[in-house]
Subunit: 545 residues, 2 copies
Amino acid sequence: MHAPHGADLHCRTWQTEAAYRMLQNNLDPAVAERPEDLVVYGGTGKAARSRDDLAAILRTLLTLAPDETLLVQSGRAVGVMRTHEWAPRVLIANSNLVPDWATWPEFRRLESLGLTMYGQMTAGSWIYIGTQGILQGTYETFAAVAAKRFGGTLKGTLTVTAGCGGMGGAQPLAVTMNDGVCLIVEVDPHRLHRRVETRYLDTVAADLDDAVAQALAAKRAGEARSIGLVGNAAEVLPELLARGVEADIVTDQTSAHDPLSYVPAGVDVADAAGLAERDPNAFTDRARESMARHVEAMVGFLDAGAEVFDYGNSIRGEALAGGFARAFDFPGFVPAYIRPLFCEGKGPFRWAALSGDPADIAATDRAVLDLFPENRTLHRWISLARERVAFQGLPARICWLGHGERDLAGVRFNELVADGTLKAPIVIGRDHLDCGSVASPYRETEAMKDGSDAIADWPLLNALVNTASGASWVSIHHGGGVGIGRSIHAGQVTVADGTALAAQKLERVLANDPAMGVIRHVDAGYEEADRVAAGHGVRIPTRES
Amino acid sequence: MHAPHGADLHCRTWQTEAAYRMLQNNLDPAVAERPEDLVVYGGTGKAARSRDDLAAILRTLLTLAPDETLLVQSGRAVGVMRTHEWAPRVLIANSNLVPDWATWPEFRRLESLGLTMYGQMTAGSWIYIGTQGILQGTYETFAAVAAKRFGGTLKGTLTVTAGCGGMGGAQPLAVTMNDGVCLIVEVDPHRLHRRVETRYLDTVAADLDDAVAQALAAKRAGEARSIGLVGNAAEVLPELLARGVEADIVTDQTSAHDPLSYVPAGVDVADAAGLAERDPNAFTDRARESMARHVEAMVGFLDAGAEVFDYGNSIRGEALAGGFARAFDFPGFVPAYIRPLFCEGKGPFRWAALSGDPADIAATDRAVLDLFPENRTLHRWISLARERVAFQGLPARICWLGHGERDLAGVRFNELVADGTLKAPIVIGRDHLDCGSVASPYRETEAMKDGSDAIADWPLLNALVNTASGASWVSIHHGGGVGIGRSIHAGQVTVADGTALAAQKLERVLANDPAMGVIRHVDAGYEEADRVAAGHGVRIPTRES
Ligand SMILES: NC(=O)c1ccc[n+]([C@@H]2O[C@H](COP(=O)([O-])OP(=O)(O)OC[C@H]3O[C@@H](n4cnc5c(N)ncnc54)[C@H](O)[C@@H]3O)[C@@H](O)[C@H]2O)c1
Ligand SMILES: NC(=O)c1ccc[n+]([C@@H]2O[C@H](COP(=O)([O-])OP(=O)(O)OC[C@H]3O[C@@H](n4cnc5c(N)ncnc54)[C@H](O)[C@@H]3O)[C@@H](O)[C@H]2O)c1
């Protein structure tokens, strides 16, 4: 399955055409990890519940009227209702469970009954754009690590990590873009070779000795280089620690959020899925034991002075469940590096060209650079991305923009569609991992200043306000990157189709959506957010009189 | 605090004026159970987080523009954003927690930090209208019991129940409206006397002997009569069972959903709150032990042949936690009596007259009777309600209407506002306990045909679609009547202000909102719902080709 390209409509409006194309783009073999199972990324994150459900969604979008709205419940089209032209064309709720039932075993039981599916973040909300989506966030994170500990560059440092899947595959390139050396451990050789093909990874080592030798040589030479190693992180990391390999930065992006996706030590990758299916409880225990050993080694590197952080996959929680008491000795990446950006309403703004033409992305790249001539990180990112990022599926771009920036970019793109500079409309969305769209105490809302980590009103308000502001589709998900029970998050996608109405919608959605991040952090007591709210005129009713 | 009455605006539009008045109406001493603590009903269900928060909400509503939306996070005004005239004027998310943190102790910890509040269902969403709100549902339920077991009338039967609070107080009147006898046990004498004043309860007995004597005499005589008894249900019910009192129907509406609100046996009602605050864990244990004894007696009546049901307060779950293994031997009232109505999109439609004039409700009563001349249950209810229901706060009416009916009523009310028949606009809302707005495995979604009890996508889609259809305010809550961890539910209120725009909004919201109930039950495999969908043109995309 590939998304249709070009300037001709299959649906009745570009608002629905965009959903029609982006859903199919999520399942393009160049984009999705396992399109044959409808799995887009993140272990089991799906775009639709079943083949029949996919067909029903696509069929319904083809005839949806400009004042109708399609309702999607965990990847199934359950209704079409008459709304109005300011309303979203699709409303999505995926994987949500009543809290007392929000456990993996209960979720899997309901999934096996055909009643739900795992939506991850952008899989079930149809705005995954391949590994580039995560690359920019990963690039920003490693840049922040460099700024904090290594004088602004990773040159001469070694990063050790694991997990080279849909999102983890961005790590080696993000490290080399910051001029560092990356040694990445991955249990599945195919994943490594795929990243070499897409130029996210430089090379795959022959064995552990080779990998260590190459990594240390590059580190000494100050070369930017990434080396993949086939192996199980629960075995390799303790071994690297035992050998005294001097890692400067240690993190992880194995699929630890789902213990049935993490391959336990001693298990062949080819057997893992079968074993997990046959005895999920026993497999969970083994996976957690392995994660305990894996995280124990990470804490060993921490004790040895390395910069160590959890990269949003819940591995600390699983290691704790697996019996390792010091699992939470290192922080999550959000409080460590990302929260100051969230206070400014910054987050993963992304867009895709429905024309399918890379020239449209080149034009939007120029537009963004022109709009923000002072933003040096942005300029560096866009030029590196142009050089190094291979498009997957519909050409797309991501960059982090804040409150007061996103709406400018959206309205500008809409003008470029209107004046014919671009060949077809642009779809503008973001990850659910954003400043004001998620409650996730092990990741995005870990260690909030006022202790409000688990308050889940915010992502729901985010979804409601985007629905009320003119987004083209809106979603509320549970679980995402950290797993069932651990997060509630919301997404929005808005289409720049060149119309005056779209301009009004973009102005509102792309102001209100990041404003949620500003008010959420004002409410939690962050002074940076206060300053942004005051400077940008974001209203805080409790401060007024 | 009383809601302003009359035809003059304080706010800039009737859409916001309605929220402004209904919030204050929720806290009218004639409506709220403990207005001094901002508690409206249901134990601790609040309308705003604090006095300051209440003031900030009211202040913000006064100047809110017709294209602005106020965001309320657990009873606090956290933002104002620019939207458009089809958007809700207020969006509310109350008491929501990330599932792994969704426990009473964690909720209370966060509440004591000032970070959240308990919103119940219509308390935090500003559409509670006093005990009448629940009276009609209770009347319908007892009518359904009568139809199922007692030949269509409760004449000559005795109902034993407990809990005469905000909602439970509707029970005695609902039973006598069905011509039966009700013996209601309540630990707090003030509650009973208050119900006598409002004519919901006929009399308060001197003691247990007196109560039993009066009840049995009325039962024998076939008289409709309700008798209150001051006492603790965990003591009185076992005693009634031991005495062999022949109860025909047994249920309960103590505040069992919150173990800190249920008064344990042996505890004086005046001491309960203090004890619960000082040692919540010990209090919880004692309350659960008492609930185990209370439910054990209910199962005793079941064994003796009575019709026994859980009336939506989670007492079975608490009794199980308290060690009584047979707690779930009797069903919840929804699968037993209400689900067939939900399949037709039927649920608690309600409205209030912003004029404050009872004549406006009389006119809407007539309009509803005219619209549905064939509906005998409705006619009987409205005439009984006119006779027996004392208004509390703004005059209001409730009746259960289904898909295809609610929109007709809403549009008709809007015409009556437009043509001057009514003195001011009408606010139209409903309980969160509705056909398609709640996931609650111990109550509304107990024992669903396909096992989808805990799937929580539906209430979220309900909130999203109402936001997308023109509702005036929309809310998403957690906990409600069954407690933290046990439910997710959504509310909507739409204002009939007599404009053409309001007519369009009412048409959509009042069709789509109950359509959620129809599609939810179609999806779960209920044939009644299939028939309604087919008959009413409710689209089910998976059935199309
Ligand atoms: N930091 C972020 O911004 C962010 C965002 C979203 C998700 N995540 C999380 O990162 C994790 C990875 O996401 P993904 O999309 O790449 O998942 P994925 O399933 O595509 O990839 C996970 C990879 O880990 C490998 N793996 C599993 N067990 C292993 C082991 N013991 N040793 C070595 N390799 C092992 C798998 O073979 C697979 O290639 C997920 O938990 C995801 O939730 C992080
Ligand atoms: N069936 C429904 O439609 C429905 C709808 C919503 C809520 N409920 C549930 O019904 C329950 C009652 O709601 P409410 O608004 O009336 O609550 P409330 O707090 O106003 O009233 C509860 C009453 O129970 C009394 N009580 C507590 N412990 C007692 C004991 N051991 N013996 C006798 N009386 C005792 C209290 O004094 C109080 O008057 C709640 O749990 C609520 O969630 C039912």
